[in-house]
Symmetry: C2
Subunit: 330 residues, 2 copies
Amino acid sequence: MEDVAKAAAVSTATVSRVLNSPELVAPETAARVQRAIQDLGYRPNVFAQGLMTRKSRLLGIALPDIHGEFYSELLRGADAEARRQGYHLLISSEARDDESGLIGSAAGFVAGVAVMLTEPNEALWKQIREASEPFVVIDSDIGAAGVDRVLVDNAIGTRDAVDHLLGSVKPERCYFVGGPRENFDTEQRARVFADTLSERGHRPDERHVRFGDYSVDWGHRCGGEILAAANGEPIGVLAGNDEIAFGVMLAAADRGLNVPGKVRIIGFDDTRLATLLRPGLTTVRVPMAQVGAAAIAALIARIDEPGRPASCTRLPTELVVRGTSAPAKP
Amino acid sequence: MEDVAKAAAVSTATVSRVLNSPELVAPETAARVQRAIQDLGYRPNVFAQGLMTRKSRLLGIALPDIHGEFYSELLRGADAEARRQGYHLLISSEARDDESGLIGSAAGFVAGVAVMLTEPNEALWKQIREASEPFVVIDSDIGAAGVDRVLVDNAIGTRDAVDHLLGSVKPERCYFVGGPRENFDTEQRARVFADTLSERGHRPDERHVRFGDYSVDWGHRCGGEILAAANGEPIGVLAGNDEIAFGVMLAAADRGLNVPGKVRIIGFDDTRLATLLRPGLTTVRVPMAQVGAAAIAALIARIDEPGRPASCTRLPTELVVRGTSAPAKP
DNA sequence: CTGAAAGCGCTTACAG
DNA sequence: CTGAAAGCGCTTACAG
């Protein structure tokens, strides 16, 4: 920096101003300094900057140990947005392990952090509320006392999926096979599933709304039970994610039941798996990359303007019709 | 820090020494300082530290825009190792885009960076050689003038896979359907495939060793061509990755050819897909999490001891037999 | 074994 | 609009 100042025949203060508040510098001076910066390939020292300004261009992102594909999509979106705004992304996959995970170890390190919270976690929420740096929470709909949040709007996609199913299946022959009961997304999907059916005059009971985990195995098992009890007319299954949906497809195959002929299946997430399966899996797309980008955008917005009211971004989900479901109006 | 010094009735220099070179401090003094640190919840300022020492506990990792699952597995391994050694991981998914990607933007920021390089990239290599911070290269077998590398040893798994195929298929009826020709892994897998067959007295020609891309589509297409030409006895296919293998399975299904009865198929990577398919996909497991961990370990080793000779870690691959291949000795 | 002091490279009131 | 100067919180020779 000293060299730049010398080369441009100004003080280091001016160089600093050119970089941080160009409006305070006379245009000609600024130009001269810019040129010197170019010529000398000067890059400000991040540590010195951080030491003075008390804030870095570093953002943390903490994810639970979720399905690989989700993870990487979200990260990709987050990274792209961070980069676009001149920030770097620090990752941590231990949102679940150690409570003090990223939050503790990156304290005072990072200008803010985005945490994904898929299940209730009071301990973590407490830390978030007490933390000194800005936080944004992904996927958690609760405990939102003034904390920025980014959510997936499961309602749209779920409603469309149920309507789609009802185009060719009776309400009483529709099932929801979800992930863990505590999982925010599964919970919301289950609720909207039940509500939508209710509006059609059929309130599903607990045999029709099932909870388990996000695995092929669970889908296979639960699908098997459902199919064993259901004979005759076609049934419809909305799964909590694509893997569960695939499990249900397997259960149908076990019984020689044609999909979509006898069983109409809809997944959730629109992962790669959905496009690979034959027939292709009808599913509800969740825009994970956008979720990541939105979280980072919200975080930076808060850093830039700490006083702003807490935001809540809701990203829409969308039904993607492929081969495992019948057309809406047969 | 000043407060800690005061509380422990020592100078800040001593506090610093307790933290960085405890062996230089008298045990009792050290204990006193430690206690003060505890009591006050003191955490050193990372920026001030970085400003003095010229190095951070930050490591960069740059990955090409590869398949989600790979990406996240590698990252998980890398993150775990970094954390274990008290480092943080900064990610960048743009190893491919902008040449100056992570390398430029994180310069002087990060104590070292791990880059994954799956194809020749002279421009990137040049930057790596000229960079001031330590680098370790993942997956690239070339241009290794004194640079630490972490590689996957494709030879073991490929050889085992071919042997496995040859247990029930004639050498002249074995095919390799690879990814991109320039891809280091595909190239090595193809070479070992050809060599192993040659040792068995049959040197395969270009009809038996094919290159395309890492997609289901390519596997489907290429598998279709191969199966169209091959009738009668069973054939064996080693695919460049699991998705290609799945494409070949699809091609077999198109023609009503039983797998593994008429077509024996082996994939590569052992992704989640391999376990989801029916029949389960026989495949060669690539330990991605370990690759990530090894890269970080090598990077830290170099940071700690800049003079050490360049290391080259080779992680073994392993054949995992599932349903798409016949038993070795029928 | 410990302390006083200089300095890392920046930013930012404070004067002018 | 610009510069001199203080200071951010640490580390590290240098003395003792």
